[in-house]
Symmetry: D3
Subunit: 144 residues, 6 copies
Amino acid sequence: MRLTHRYRFSASHRIHVESLSGEENRRLFGKCNNPYGHGHNYNLEITVEGPVDAKTGRVVEPGELDRLVEAEVIAAYNHRYLNVDLPEFQKLTATTENLAYEIQRRLDEKWRQAFPSGVPSLAHIRVQETKRNVFDLSIIEEAI
Amino acid sequence: MRLTHRYRFSASHRIHVESLSGEENRRLFGKCNNPYGHGHNYNLEITVEGPVDAKTGRVVEPGELDRLVEAEVIAAYNHRYLNVDLPEFQKLTATTENLAYEIQRRLDEKWRQAFPSGVPSLAHIRVQETKRNVFDLSIIEEAI
Amino acid sequence: MRLTHRYRFSASHRIHVESLSGEENRRLFGKCNNPYGHGHNYNLEITVEGPVDAKTGRVVEPGELDRLVEAEVIAAYNHRYLNVDLPEFQKLTATTENLAYEIQRRLDEKWRQAFPSGVPSLAHIRVQETKRNVFDLSIIEEAI
Amino acid sequence: MRLTHRYRFSASHRIHVESLSGEENRRLFGKCNNPYGHGHNYNLEITVEGPVDAKTGRVVEPGELDRLVEAEVIAAYNHRYLNVDLPEFQKLTATTENLAYEIQRRLDEKWRQAFPSGVPSLAHIRVQETKRNVFDLSIIEEAI
Amino acid sequence: MRLTHRYRFSASHRIHVESLSGEENRRLFGKCNNPYGHGHNYNLEITVEGPVDAKTGRVVEPGELDRLVEAEVIAAYNHRYLNVDLPEFQKLTATTENLAYEIQRRLDEKWRQAFPSGVPSLAHIRVQETKRNVFDLSIIEEAI
Amino acid sequence: MRLTHRYRFSASHRIHVESLSGEENRRLFGKCNNPYGHGHNYNLEITVEGPVDAKTGRVVEPGELDRLVEAEVIAAYNHRYLNVDLPEFQKLTATTENLAYEIQRRLDEKWRQAFPSGVPSLAHIRVQETKRNVFDLSIIEEAI
């Protein structure tokens, strides 16, 4: 059984690769490279997977999941300029692909603290930058 | 090829585990344990999978699928208080996880009657309780 | 300038008029009269109207509006069975038309406390029961 | 007859009033005052009103409306940091209320060039900052 | 109090004015003038207005409204090529503006049959051709 | 990492199998077999899969993907009557299942021209005919 919770955060970013020239950055990223950035209402879907608890009838205590995502992801990214405010995007380009990986890293770091048994597992991350532009990261759970 | 049809039903439920104390129920389920229940507009997605028929160009006769889902699921759940009106939730907690399993059970029971060849198969059930809260049940078709 | 904030609450209700016979209730309200009720994810839109403050550039302090709506409406209705849990629906039929009027009454009662100048005014209430079923209540501000 | 066209642009902004102290800005605007800004996918609805042309059966040549809105509004605001990139927000606070007025001003300036007869008129501007936060500006057409 | 019900129908149309040359039609209507037509999932919103009945707590018997709209509008337009299948578009150009007027005409013709008291009144018709293209027709009720 | 871009096109179609009698067509396809066709606003989701480029932080150059889909699919299908305007539906029934396969064929034909390295691969095609009716085609990338 999988459960998906949806979250939103508003942030701004600029797509700019330090090691490339200004001209090459503009050619590759166009208006996404505009010098002062621009922003989005990001939609975030976090999917967990696990067995349904026989007593509670639930795959996860939903408040526990929300507390984790809100503390580790939403509180950090909401109403921020990713390139400037976040340590992970000081060097890493703030594309939504990299954002998805960073969200995975942030959740992985605290997962065992929130879910000591490792159940449920983090199964999927979806970040929607705009209605036309959606990024999916499937997490293949390693055998333990 | 997979085809998904979307359905809606409005129902109410209360999350309450008989074997737990009132206090433990309140601690575990919060406002979802309020004594007289509350309700949702449930969105239901039923996905079938199979080959595309060479003559008709379709994976399923859509009216056949709708008749099955409406008779076995929508007619039973729509405008009902799940905990009281439905036999399956007399003992089983009316979480949406359990609701997804019960929908699978209801469809499985009549599948061969509606689709005697077993084609298409029931591949996936998604129940959206609210826009923030989505449950997915993938059905792994057993080899025949 | 008008500002609309959107809220959600999940509740259950039953459409039943005490002064009518069971048969007449069933004839008039059909499945909405089912004895144990059913539920919805209600969408609520609250629209305020007023001049834009020259200094802040805003028509209302949005946190102030949210605190009022959440305290007076969402906290009262969310995860409740309207017919049983709410004093106003002990005698009044819990149709969404009446729900809209009760939301107006609840907000009016505390409006001057939240906005002592009477600015902005409450201009419009929209309650969406389902995607197909929307109720609108325009509030004509009386001259002062 | 009214016709509404919907547009989207992604931009970032910071709510900050120069004449107020840093502390007062933070108190009034909270996380919207974060120093490096944040962003949104803005939805813009432009509504025109006029008679239906007897020959073409249309209230406006839709391409003409789109060219005007895209040249005067979308091209200017899309993928920009409003506070820094746009002359109008050098002094004016970049709230969405003020953004709606600036969109009206930009369209008014070129309206007669696009529609020399003054028909159709600009009737309404709606800017949705997030799904929860919507701003409406009704334009009362002055008698000619 | 206003109640809006939403309906959907799928139809095809071609924007073509008989009295204009082929070239002028192509210049005015572009791809909407393609010779064999194209189609849309139309969203239709019908808004009625009236007092809330003191006994039932409703502004209209919703089944009565649905029967009228489905019989007079949806049954006629759904899964049809408007230009060829519908008598009203034999001469009239099948723009969505004209479609809105024809929907009003069809409903007006049977309104008194469905609602002999004239209450509620038909207040507003909205036709959404695509997510970007919405047409609104406000009906000013004449004094009786 | 997967990236999904969403597109829209408006087209009309008629479900009709030449080798069947008129009566059998009507029995099988009902109103979808109406002689002059009907239409939809199709939503198309194209999903690509591949590694994230270490330099650009992207899985694909999004403009490259859009140019391919717009040239090969949208330009061909938008504002067309599929059965008459498109060579592939002269003999093939214009069901949405077949439409999904034809979109795959059109993209496959030009994929190596747009992405000479074969990276990213085409992973999934989703066509939504109406909000209730969605078709999914997963593409299993063959080992090279």
